[in-house]
């Protein structure tokens, strides 16, 4: 029994199972992998945002000693050279046309990096520039140059086939959702607000850039070691491209040096596999950080929102039109726009809803998944405008939000999962944590924001637990350890159910030929989905143990329980090794338990009901240097409804990291393009948060009512904390200075200009009013 209740290991901040190898430098990542005879790969990238390839000369590169493979688009006669999880719109290498600056055009594998670089120098490419579209405005203008002219095939998400593209435009996908009567509701609204907010292109900057190594065996089987968050999606992609059954492809995943969504879906794996095939030897392809900036990013967005309120503050209607800039290839962006837009109303009760979003191609780095998956872009607008509404309705921002919060068990949308958290409790906790009811110190102000996000559905996670003859256990699941601590959590869950010490549980690293199916390590879903599968698999083993014990003891299973590595009932106690010995008639054999979590399709608007709702709220206390416009976040409080913390320290770690990443895109980060060129594709030009940016007071709290859909009443965390940061800071800025900014990041220059404009505009009243 622990202080935290009826659990032994669950609910404890046990040490991470991978901490020792990480502090000693012994941890191994993709870039540490060296295969016998391995070749090193390099890519030649397009210098232009949009151009036709009119001449490509690779023979001199091919002739260079030590070069094993030089690939360009015309070489892919032996495979399907197109991929993409939503739309198969992406060629292995640019084919006839380059669609963004940095798009891979030629790939080389050579004996060493230096030779590969030398070979790329010998490649000649002649381009003919085409007008590029690098902003939403340019891409959506009538008669705009088209990024894609053909109709790509659907990828492996069948539900996206129902979404419409708009032929002849740069809109690759549209999402629509409506309920109630929005027109009538706005006609009857006492207060209607309308405004537009924009969110920039953000780079994940996982410290470990993307990487993949590939090797083909003599029987045509393919092994890929990949820094990926979802090996099964990569397997499916490679299966289609190289016409291989899933059983002949093995994707093995080492530790990841961060992911944040940037390592979901195939990135470098197809190229590594193609190079290895042609080079006839293992090939490792490592991206640099500069390459990562040209691999994937967060979708930027322009969100126009209309909110209609009753006089009493009830939120009557929401109308949202969002354009997401998805870059040159769709990647998973159609799902990003769908999921992000779907939860526009967040944790609020709204009867009349009209949502429309467009995924818009531009000649920029492809946009894809990034912590929050479309939600931060929308919530920046919604939660900014909730504060504007509070001001206009002369209401306290906390009270106005509280009035509109969904209750526990209430429906979010017809057919989807009812609310599984206690939102009011969270909001009260946040208000207390950020000292909402007390006046802030001089020169400071506070702002807050709330959010509710759906996880991915339909979704499948499977797990196998093997109880060995000595009573120790192996957990087989495909959760990727990218820093979030998932392997530790899975070990805690298995140890708890099996009633054995944590040190006797080993979580096997993901390998699609060994560990069972899991859709993805993203969407804050692993603890809930894989955790439940592990719990079920361990319970399956426990059931088998109890049945064996009942046979051995000549009793029924009723009253038999597992305690400290033994089945116990009445006065009897039989250890697991003895039970297995009895069962198998020897010291050998193992019990295998299986867990499958697969909620399947439902009538929910997106085709599957979210397995849980991720709920997070944040409050910021800021100051502003009026001379420079620089914002300092002096204090931050974050409250997440997690059902139950399996590992409280790791929950706090997830939350703190999420908030700092949110502070990054709120204050500093933006990928800047000029004339189609990415100007700041490195860490000198792209400013991520540093240690000195941490708020001096940081409070991370968890609402734990054991009501989550995951194991032991837990549910997901990881993305949520990031989402409220921008509007919380933006709202604090307005409360402090009266200016409201609509564009992220809130850089010193933007704040300074806004403050100056306010000073210069004599009749400008203080507060939100002048902006709406």
């Amino acid at each position: 029994m622990s202080a935290r209740g009826r659990f032994t290991v669950v609910g404890q901040s046990v040490r991470r199972t991978d901490a020792l190898e990480k502090v000693t430098g012994r941890a191994r990542y993709l870039s540490d992998l060296e295969l016998p005879g391995m070749a090193h790969a390099r890519l030649l990238r397009s210098p232009f945002a949009h151009a036709r390839i009119v001449r490509l000369e690779v023979e001199r590169a091919r002739a260079l000693p030590g070069v094993y493979a030089v690939l360009a688009a015309p070489d892919f006669t032996w495979c399907d050279a197109f991929y993409g999880p939503a739309l198969r719109d992406r060629p292995l290498l640019a084919t006839d046309v380059v669609r963004y600056e940095g798009e891979p055009v030629v790939a080389v594998a050579a004996a060493d990096e230096a030779t590969a670089v030398e070979a790329l120098d010998l490649v000649e490419v002649e381009y003919e520039e085409i007008t590029a579209v690098t902003t939403l405005e340019e891409a959506l203008a009538p008669g705009a140059p088209l990024v894609h002219t053909g109709e790509p095939l659907a990828g492996h998400f069948s539900d996206l086939a129902t979404l419409k593209s708009k032929p002849g435009t740069n809109i690759c996908h549209q999402f629509d959702y409506t309920r109630g009567d929005v027109k009538a509701a706005f006609a009857g609204a006492a207060l209607t607000l309308e405004d537009t907010y924009t969110f920039p292109r953000i780079q994940h900057y996982s410290m470990e850039p993307h990487g993949a190594a590939a090797s083909w065996d003599d029987e045509g089987g393919l092994t890929v070691w990949a820094s990926t968050q979802n090996p099964f999606s990569v397997r499916s992609e490679l299966g289609k491209m190289f016409n291989l059954p899933a059983s002949r492809i093995r994707i093995a995943v080492p530790l990841l040096g961060g992911g944040f969504g940037g390592k979901t879906y195939a990135k470098l794996e197809p190229l590594a596999a193609a190079l290895a095939r042609v080079a006839r030897r293992p090939v490792r392809l490592l991206a640099s950080v500069e390459d990562a900036f040209r691999t994937v990013r967060r979708c930027s967005a322009r969100v126009t929102l209309r909110l209609g309120f009753q006089a009493d503050g009830g939120l009557l209607a929401v109308d949202c039109v969002a354009d997401f800039d998805v870059g040159a290839y769709a990647d998973i962006a159609p799902r990003v726009i769908q999921k992000g837009t779907y939860t526009t109303t967040g944790p609020y009760r709204v009867a009349n809803v009209l949502l429309h979003s467009n995924a818009v191609y531009t000649n920029t780095t492809p946009g894809g998944a990034f912590r929050g998956f479309g939600v931060p872009q929308i919530v920046w607008a919604v939660e900014s405008m909730m504060d504007v509404a509070a001001h206009r309705l002369d209401r306290d921002p906390v009270d106005l939000r509280r009035q509109n919060l969904l209750a526990h068990g209430e429906e979010f949308a017809p057919g989807d999962t009812p609310v599984d958290g206690k939102l009011e409790e969270g909001l009260s906790r946040l208000a207390e944590a950020i000292q909402w009811s007390q006046a802030p110190p001089a020169g400071r102000a506070r702002g807050l924001a709330v959010m509710m996000k759906a996880s991915v559905a339909p979704s499948v996670s499977e797990a196998i637990v093997r109880l060995h003859a000595d009573g120790s256990a192996s957990v087989l699941c495909s959760t990727v350890e990218m820093g979030q601590g998932a392997r530790t959590v899975m070990a805690q869950i298995a140890a708890e159910v099996l009633a054995i010490p944590l040190a006797r549980v080993m979580v096997v690293p993901p390998d699609t030929s060994i560990t069972p199916y899991d859709q993805t390590s993203s969407s804050s879903r692993s603890t809930t989905m894989v955790g439940r599968a592990v719990q079920e698999a361990a319970e399956d083993v426990v059931d088998q143990l109890r049945r064996i014990a009942a046979r051995q003891l000549g009793v029924t299973t009723r009253g038999l329980a597992v305690v400290e590595g033994a089945v116990v009932g009445g006065d009897s106690r039989v250890s697991y090794p003895d039970l297995l010995d009895f069962h198998f008639g020897m010291r050998g054999g193992e019990l295998i338990g299986r867990g499958v979590v697969a909620p399947g399709r439902t009538a929910a608007p997106l085709g599957g009901s979210t397995p849980f709702w991720e709920v997070a709220m944040g409050g910021a206390e800021i100051s502003v240097d009026e001379e420079t416009g620089a914002i300092s976040v002096e204090a931050y409080a974050s409250v997440s409804d997690v059902g139950r913390c399996i590992n409280p320290q790791q929950c706090a770690a997830q939350d703190e990291g999420a908030v700092m990443q949110g502070i990054g895109h709120s204050l500093y980060e933006e990928m800047v393009y000029e004339g189609g060129q990415l100007l700041n594709a490195d860490l000198a030009g792209y400013r991520v948060p540093r240690a000195a940016d941490v708020p001096l007071r940081f409070d991370s709290q968890f609402v734990e009512n054991g009501d989550g859909a995951g194991p032991f009443g837990a549910k997901g965390i990881g993305e949520g904390g990031l989402v409220p940061v921008s509007p919380a800071i933006g709202n604090a800025l307005t409360r402090l200075t009266g200016v409201r900014l609509h564009e992220l990041p809130l850089t010193p220059e933007r704040v300074w200009r806004a403050l100056r404009a306010q000073r210069e505009s004599k009749e400008a009243p203080k507060g939100d009013g002048r902006h709406v």
Partner: protein, 165 residues
């Protein structure tokens, strides 16, 4: 006519994690590549390649340097400490213990650099304030933890007596 000799390799001798090393390196070889590829010490990680992120930090004569922008031949005659020499699994350095205890490790890619930078700081200033630690870590980025637990871990190894903020 005598050709100007161009040296294709340089012989260097240095102390690595307390042991003498003698090695021929190409003059342009980066310390990071010498450590990772020649000496198979993978604890220093490659990330930004431009001396911003600190993932490749090692100590040269006790001071932190970015091995990604430091020539291998520059360590000739000097002492180099990498994370592999900081402590052993049986006997961890107090900073390694503290990082584990405080949950300051997530993906682990920044960890070696953070540990070594912290070691250099505490050698220079045994009782730094929180603000000083945060400022000293300006060359070490972490994208996972939000730094909070790293700062806590480092401060827990400071000699008592420093101001707490």
């Amino acid at each position: 006519m005598n050709a100007i000799p161009i040296r294709s390799s340089c012989n260097i001798r240095f102390t690595l994690n307390g042991r003498p090393v003698e090695l021929d390196v190409r003059p342009e070889a980066l310390l990071l590549d010498v450590l990772r590829d020649r000496l198979q010490l993978k604890g220093a990680r490659r990330s930004c390649d431009m001396q911003v992120c600190g993932a490749c930090t090692v100590l040269v004569d006790g001071g932190p340097v970015s091995a990604c922008t430091y020539l291998g031949l520059e360590v000739d005659g000097h002492e180099v400490l990498t994370v592999e020499g900081l402590g052993t699994e049986e006997r961890l350095h107090p900073l390694q213990e503290a990082f584990i205890e405080h949950g300051a490790v997530q993906c682990g890619f920044c960890t070696a650099g953070m540990l070594l930078t912290a070691k250099a700081l505490l050698a220079e200033e045994p009782s730094p304030t929180l603000g000083r630690v945060a400022e000293y870590l300006r060359g070490n980025l972490c994208r996972c933890t939000g730094y909070r637990k790293i700062l806590d871990a480092i401060l827990s190894c400071a000699t008592p007596g420093g101001e707490q903020r």
